[in-house]
C-alpha cells in the first residue's frame, strides 16, 4: 500500500532521514518507534508531502507520490494527525471537522461528522466549543476525528499519546484499533513504545535517521535490545 525506498530528507545541512525504507500493507497497523529527534515526524511529513525529499521515492498504491503537493496526497487517501494535534484553536469542534473534510463534498461532510461523533461522543457534546478550550485528550480526539473526515485509506498518527494521562492513552489506543478494524490502515509514530508495540502488527525502529530494526511487533517487544532502550527494562 505504502512504500518508502531509500528516503533522504535534509533540513539545511542536517540529514534528518538518511535513506530509510519501509512498507505498510493494507489493513495493517505499523508502528514507527524511536527516541527524540530520530526523524519520526519527518517521515510522516514527507509522506504527507509537507516536507520535500532529497533522495529516494515514496509510492502509494504502486504510484509514486513523492513530490506531489500535500493537498493532492490527502485526496488520494492519506491523512495525518500531526504531532501536538494542531487543532485550529479559534474554530469550533464542528468547524475543525469541516476543515478536515475540505477535500470532500457536502454530503460526505455530514456523514463524516456523524461518524466522528459516534466514534467520539464527547466531541458531539461539544460541537460549538472552541477547539482551543478543549482538554488535551479531547483535542487529540478532535485531531483524529478531523483527520478521518477526509475518509483516508491510510491514517498517519504522530504521537497520539503525547502529554496524556495513561487512562486516556489506553482509550485513544482502543479507538485506534477500532478505526483499523473498520478498514483503515494505520502508520503509528510513538515514543510510548510499549503501548505502540502492543497495538501494532509490525514495527520499525528509527535511530538518528536510520531504520535499525524491524519485524513483528510481538517479536520486537521481546527483543533484549529494545527492552533495554525503549521499554525501560
Amino acid at each position: 500500500m505504502l512504500e518508502l525506498r531509500d528516503v533522504i530528507v535534509s533540513y539545511g545541512m542536517i540529514d534528518a532521514l538518511k535513506g530509510i525504507s519501509l512498507i505498510v500493507e493494507p489493513g495493517e497497523i505499523v508502528a514507527l518507534i524511536g527516541a527524540n529527534g530520530a526523524g519520526k515526524s519527518t517521515t510522516l511529513m514527507s509522506i504527507s508531502g509537507v516536507t520535500g525529499l532529497r533522495g529516494g521515492t515514496i509510492s502509494y498504491d504502486g504510484e509514486p507520490i513523492s513530490g506531489r503537493p500535500a493537498h493532492e496526497i490527502v485526496k488520494r487517501g492519506i491523512s495525518q494527525v500531526p504531532e501536538g494535534r494542531r487543532i485550529f484553536a479559534g474554530m469550533t469542534v464542528n468547524e475543525n471537522l469541516e476543515i478536515g473534510a475540505f477535500s470532500r463534498s457536502k454530503e460526505e461532510l455530514s456523514e463524516g461528522i456523524e461518524r466522528a461523533f459516534s466514534l467520539f461522543p464527547t466531541l458531539g457534546e461539544r460541537r460549538k466549543q472552541l477547539g482551543g478550550t478543549l482538554s488535551g485528550g479531547e483535542q487529540q480526539m478532535l485531531a483524529i476525528g478531523r483527520a478521518l473526515m477526509s475518509r483516508p485509506k491510510l491514517l498517519l498518527l504522530d504521537e497520539p499519546s503525547l502529554g496524556l494521562a495513561p487512562i486516556i492513552v489506553s482509550r485513544i489506543f482502543k479507538i485506534i484499533r477500532e478505526i483499523n478494524e473498520q478498514g483503515t490502515t494505520i502508520l503509528l509514530v510513538e515514543q510510548n513504545a510499549r503501548a505502540a508495540l502492543r497495538l501494532a502488527h509490525r514495527a520499525y525502529v528509527l535511530e538518528t535517521g536510520k531504520i535499525v530494526m524491524q519485524g513483528k511487533a510481538s517479536h520486537l517487544e521481546k527483543d533484549p535490545g529494545i527492552k533495554k532502550a525503549y521499554l525501560g527494562e
Binding site: Q80, I99, S103, A147
Partner: protein, 383 residues
C-alpha cells in the same frame, strides 16, 4: 517536539531581504528615501513577526485583559449595529445626512468610504490569508491608471472601466503572487513593497503613457442613465453603494468554505496543508481578490478626481491602509470599518498636528500588534 519555523533563519531574513531589495531600487529612488522606506519595512516585518511569537502571548494576555473591557463594549455595540433595525437607521443616516452637509464633509465621507473599501480588500490578504502586503496601494494605482488611460485615449466609459481596472490589478496580482506565494517567509512582504515603489517609479517616468509626474487629467466621469455624475454628493452615493456591496461580498466570502480555509491557513499553515487545503491556491486567491478590490477603488478614485497622478499612491498610503486593518481588527468587518473611520477622521479633527500623524499611526500600530493583535474588534487569534 515541534520546531518553530518562525525562528528558522528568519530574524536574519527580515534584515537582509529588505537591504538587498533596497540596493536594487536605490538608483531610482535616491538614498535618503530608500533608507527611510526600507527602515519602515524592516520595522513592520519585525513587528509582524513579533506579533506571531509565542513569547509575547503572556505579556499580551496581561495587557489584553484591560483593553478587552473597552473592546467588549465596542464589540457589543458592533453586534447591535448588525441588527436589522440599527442597520436601517444607520443606512438612513448615511443617505440623508450628507444632504445637509457642505462639500468639505461630503468629501471626507467619500474619502472614508474609499478607505473602508480599500481596507476591506486588504483584509482579505492580511486578515484572512495572513500575508503581509506592504504595497497594496500599487494595485489601486494600476486600476486608476488603467481607467485613466483607457478613458482618455480610447473613450472607455466608467462601468466597463471598473471591470477593466479590477481585472488589470488582478492580473498583476497573479503575475506577482504565482512565484512569491510559493515561498515561505518574508519574500511576499518585500516583493509587494518593491512593487509599490516600482509602480510609482514607472508612473513617474513613462511620460508617453502616464504623462509622468503631471498625471493624467480629464478622466471620464461616470454616466448613469444619461446623467453625468459630477457633484460631491453623486460620488458620495456611488462610493456608499460600492462600500455596501463590498461589505456584503466580504461577509459572504468570510463565512464560506473558502473563508474558513483562509482562517485555517492563518492559524496553522502546516495543519491546513495536511487537511488537504491547497494553501498556495487559496493564498493566491486572497491576494488576487484583494488586489482586484484595490483596482476597482482606484477606478472610482480616478473618476471622482477626474485626474490621477503618481503622488496619490505612495508607500505611506499602503501603510495607512494596513494600519486600518490591523488597528480595527483583522478578519472583522465592523472592526475594519471602525479602523478606517478612526484613521481618516481623527487626523482631520487634529489637523494642527499633521506632522505627528505618521508617528501617531506608528505608535498605535506597535501597541496594537503587541498587545491586541486581533485589533479592536477582531476575533482572529494572534498566533
Amino acid at each position: 517536539m515541534t520546531y518553530p519555523r518562525i525562528l528558522n533563519n528568519k530574524f536574519f531574513n527580515i534584515v537582509w531581504i529588505p537591504c538587498w531589495a533596497g540596493l536594487l531600487v536605490l538608483p531610482v529612488t535616491g538614498a535618503g528615501k530608500a533608507i527611510r522606506i526600507f527602515a519602515v519595512a524592516v520595522g513592520l516585518m519585525f513587528l509582524w513577526r513579533l506579533s506571531k511569537h509565542d513569547a509575547f502571548t503572556t505579556l499580551r494576555n496581561a495587557a489584553a485583559e484591560k483593553i478587552s473591557k473597552t473592546s467588549a463594549v465596542l464589540m457589543s455595540f458592533s453586534r447591535y449595529a448588525e441588527s436589522p433595525l440599527a442597520a436601517a437607521i444607520t443606512l438612513a443616516l448615511l443617505i440623508l445626512l450628507p444632504v445637509f452637509l457642505n462639500d468639505y464633509y461630503r468629501d471626507i465621507m467619500t474619502l472614508t468610504g474609499i478607505y473602508i473599501v480599500l481596507a476591506l480588500g486588504l483584509n482579505l490578504i492580511v486578515g484572512q490569508a495572513g500575508l503581509l502586503n506592504l504595497g497594496y496601494v500599487a494595485f489601486s494605482a494600476i486600476g486608476a491608471y488603467t481607467y485613466a488611460i483607457l478613458s482618455t485615449k480610447f473613450g472607455l466609459s466608467f462601468w466597463p472601466g471598473l471591470v477593466a481596472g479590477a481585472a488589470t490589478a488582478a492580473f498583476f496580482a497573479v503575475l506577482l503572487g504565482s512565484p512569491t506565494l510559493r515561498l515561505r517567509g518574508d519574500y511576499f512582504a518585500i516583493v509587494t513593497l518593491g512593487l509599490g515603489e516600482i509602480t510609482r517609479i514607472i508612473l513617474n517616468n513613462w511620460d508617453s503613457l502616464t504623462n509622468g509626474p503631471n498625471g493624467i487629467s480629464q478622466v471620464g466621469r461616470p454616466v448613469l442613465f444619461g446623467y453625468v455624475l459630477h457633484t460631491t454628493l453623486d460620488f458620495y452615493y456611488l462610493i456608499l453603494l460600492i462600500a455596501i456591496g463590498t461589505v456584503f461580498a466580504m461577509k459572504r466570502l468570510m463565512t464560506s468554505r473558502i473563508g474558513r480555509a483562509w482562517i485555517a491557513i492563518r492559524e496553522d499553515e502546516i495543519a491546513a496543508e495536511t487537511m488537504g487545503i491547497n494553501t498556495f491556491r487559496l493564498k493566491l486567491l486572497a491576494f488576487v481578490l484583494g488586489s482586484a478590490w484595490a483596482g476597482l477603488t482606484g477606478v472610482f478614485f480616478a473618476a471622482k478626481m477626474a485626474f490621477v497622478s503618481p503622488e496619490s499612491f505612495t508607500f505611506f498610503e499602503s501603510v495607512m491602509i494596513l494600519c486600518m486593518v490591523v488597528l480595527g481588527g483583522m478578519g472583522s468587518i465592523p472592526g475594519i470599518i471602525l479602523g478606517a473611520l478612526l484613521l481618516i477622521t481623527l487626523p482631520e479633527v487634529f489637523r494642527d498636528f499633521q506632522d505627528y500623524r505618521m508617528l501617531a499611526f506608528g505608535v498605535a500600530l506597535v501597541l496594537m500588534m503587541v498587545f491586541r493583535p486581533q485589533g479592536l474588534l477582531g476575533t482572529a487569534k494572534g498566533k
